[in-house]
Subunit: 430 residues, 2 copies
């Protein structure tokens, strides 16, 4: 049996697992400081719910879960759909379902945060995983541009908490893109394809994009699209597409900038954020030392309506946890994988209970005390203390047990002496 995880999936060594755990706790704390409240949903959703958005690249990447027992037999016999459930591919669709179900019991507007793994059956490649975490903040029930500001500020506060500065915030509005394509007389059935091409503007040369656009749309519409959407910054043609929408983006920009002077905000006419559920402003966060985005989001005013009831205005963003960790791993020394303050060695089975009691007494004082759990020569036990990066080790042989003392060794200096339990506690805690 192979011991590697399935392709595209990962194991985390203690140092990595500790870093991930601490980063998630930090993100949650920053979100809470803005008044976002935690929610949790299940990993599996009904397949019908996951595919209810009609399109969107992510739907093609769903891990489908097979029906079970008789239902599977029936589906086989009737040549029906063999899967009934799927692993969630993001946290936004589950939130929309959650809000449709629980909205009446929640504050209005509802500020939620949601941290957890999502799954996509991407082609396995370096740096792209099939299981990865997202850390979302959302506001449901507010159609003011104030919601966008509260979302963007929370995401920037997370990055700032991790000491990341100079974050770029790209802003756009999906309605302006739609209008630009309409104005350029791109037929409705070609608009998705045009968006997919424009979305590559960060990765490909401008001339390549233009060639692709011309091939797809013809030279005239391609030139018109170029004029409004392919500039790096918003120009007059872009402004003319929707003065009200552009003005709302400018308000968001200026309110965020006032509180986060270090962030670099700009209106990016070609920003798409995928083809999915966004209906208004969209935004994306980038870090100067990382290609691609560190997260992003936008407004999705129609998503809750998919699950019944009226459409509720909503807006949110997701932090790309895996990319954030790449930056943290570069930046930090390795995270402490949980080093004990002290390893309590075990002389033999007859004295093991004494070591166990001393471990418990040290823990009762708030110390991390690791009692050696096996049977080995003292030398191997000191090696264990080294592997665990402990600062102190304690030994209790028959002589120490008889005298009611313990041998305390400072593993940094090598210094060693017989002390009482109280002295040991004081020295280790110092």
């Amino acid at each position: 049996m192979n011991s590697t995880p399935p392709s595209g999936f990962r194991d985390f060594l203690p140092g990595q697992a500790a870093l991930r755990q601490r980063a998630a706790e930090t993100i949650a704390r920053v979100y809470r400081s803005f008044g976002y409240q935690p929610i949790a949903t299940s990993a599996l959703e009904d397949l019908a719910a996951l595919t209810s958005q009609g399109g969107g690249e992510n739907e093609k990447l769903i891990f489908k879960v097979m029906r079970r027992g008789e239902a599977l037999e029936r589906a086989r016999a009737e040549n029906g759909e063999l899967a009934d459930l799927g692993l969630r591919f993001d946290l936004t669709l589950p939130l929309a379902r959650y809000y449709a179900r629980h909205g009446s019991q929640l504050p209005h507007p509802f500020k939620a945060y949601h941290l957890g793994p999502v799954w996509r059956a991407e082609r396995a490649q370096k740096g792209r995983y099939r299981e990865f975490w997202q850390c979302d903040a959302d506001i449901v029930g507010a159609d003011s541009w104030g919601a966008e500001v509260e979302i963007i500020l929370a995401i920037l506060a997370v990055f700032s908490e991790f000491g990341l500065s100079g974050i770029e915030v790209h802003l756009n509005d999906r309605r302006l893109v739609e209008r630009a394509l309409e104005t350029a007389q791109v037929p409705p059935e070609k608009r998705d394809a045009a968006c997919v091409i424009l979305d590559k503007l960060d990765k490909l040369e401008r001339s390549q994009i233009l060639t692709e656009l011309s091939a797809e749309l013809g030279a005239g519409p391609a030139a018109a699209v170029e004029k409004t959407l392919m500039s790096e910054e918003a120009g007059a043609a872009y402004e003319a597409l929707g003065p009200a929408e552009v003005s709302a983006l400018r308000r968001i920009e200026s309110a965020v900038q006032a509180v986060a002077p270090d962030a670099r905000l700009r209106l990016s006419p070609h920003l798409m954020r995928g083809l999915g559920y966004y209906t208004g402003p969209v935004f994306e966060f980038r870090h100067p030392s990382l290609s691609g985005s560190l997260g992003g989001g936008g407004r999705y005013d129609r998503l809750t309506a998919v699950f019944g009831g009226p459409p509720v205005p909503a807006c949110g963003a997701s932090i790309g946890f895996e990319r954030l960790l790449l930056l943290l791993e570069e930046k930090n020394d390795a995270e402490d994988p949980g080093s004990p303050d002290v390893v309590v060695t075990v002389f033999d089975d007859s004295l093991r209970p004494r070591s166990i009691e001393i471990g418990a007494a040290l823990r009762a004082q708030g110390l991390v005390a690791d009692v050696f759990p096996g049977m080995a020569k003292l030398k191997a036990q000191f090696k264990y203390a080294d592997q665990k990066k402990a600062s102190w080790a304690v030994a209790i042989g028959p002589d120490e047990a008889a005298r009611g003392v313990l041998q305390l060794k400072n593993l940094r200096t090598g210094e060693e002496r017989a002390v009482s339990l109280d002295e040991a506690r004081a020295l280790i805690a110092a």
Copy 2:
């Protein structure tokens, strides 16, 4: 589209989600205090790995994930296995795979903790979920009874941290059960069935068990099994099955009892802990006010060998997170779902930036400041502050903005006055 989660799956409201999050953090902290280090593995494992234990009830409950793309087409065409992956049904098998792969980079012995969801396609019923959390502590690479002690003490320390007292710890050794069945001349092919029947001793009447055993094994073997295994406490016949094994159990019992005087330890000859991978001592934790167990574990010395390499002695236990939460929910008032210290209201769009700045300034002082993210009458914004259980609200109208002050309202007393930002900070933080 239905807004309820799939059958057997759950959404968590903010109060519940906050309680779960905090409980998981507490468990991790207690495990760390014993020197356990965090690990993490993926939700999905190769189906072949999950089913490699040949038997065990849990294998029947695996959620299977379908192959994708061409591989699926090929499997269909060849009438082959349509699934290649499965959701993990526990955290022990993934740990064994993890250790087989990474063991050489880890301390020896390796004390690991592992928290996360597992999935089982159980028949949906009240109190039984298809996605639930486990919180495992394991020691790999130690064959001493000291490992069992360190595991049991860590689990008891978690319960103690939550204020749960009087925990029963039931101990047994799978080898004694095996030997009792052998001595009673139960043929090998009937031993699993006998174990399944004995395992019900906590739920059914003793006479019912005996009837079932007689039907399965015949009256003679059933009577012999009764004599050794069906007593509540270890008797002479049980002791005779394996003096060395019973003596090890007694050592574990006495070492744990010395450090955890409040726990109620006992040798329970009929304790099984399922049919799975256990090879030696097994144990189970129960709480007087809860039927069934709060967790359990045991020694599984052959599990790592499944993934290649030599067998490594291992021992671990799992806390039943969902059952623990049942107790905590009964015990506690509802967990704070993340109440802000202060809600900053918004007078209108022109003054929104001022409210946003004040929110940021209050957060910079370590306060949880929730800026109202929508557009609504002040009355609705105060209702929002009530819904969020905030203690204070701030209002800034044109007059306050012009004077450089803010209106601070104590939502507990209704008292309200104009103060400077510094005064507001001091009052809210007090």
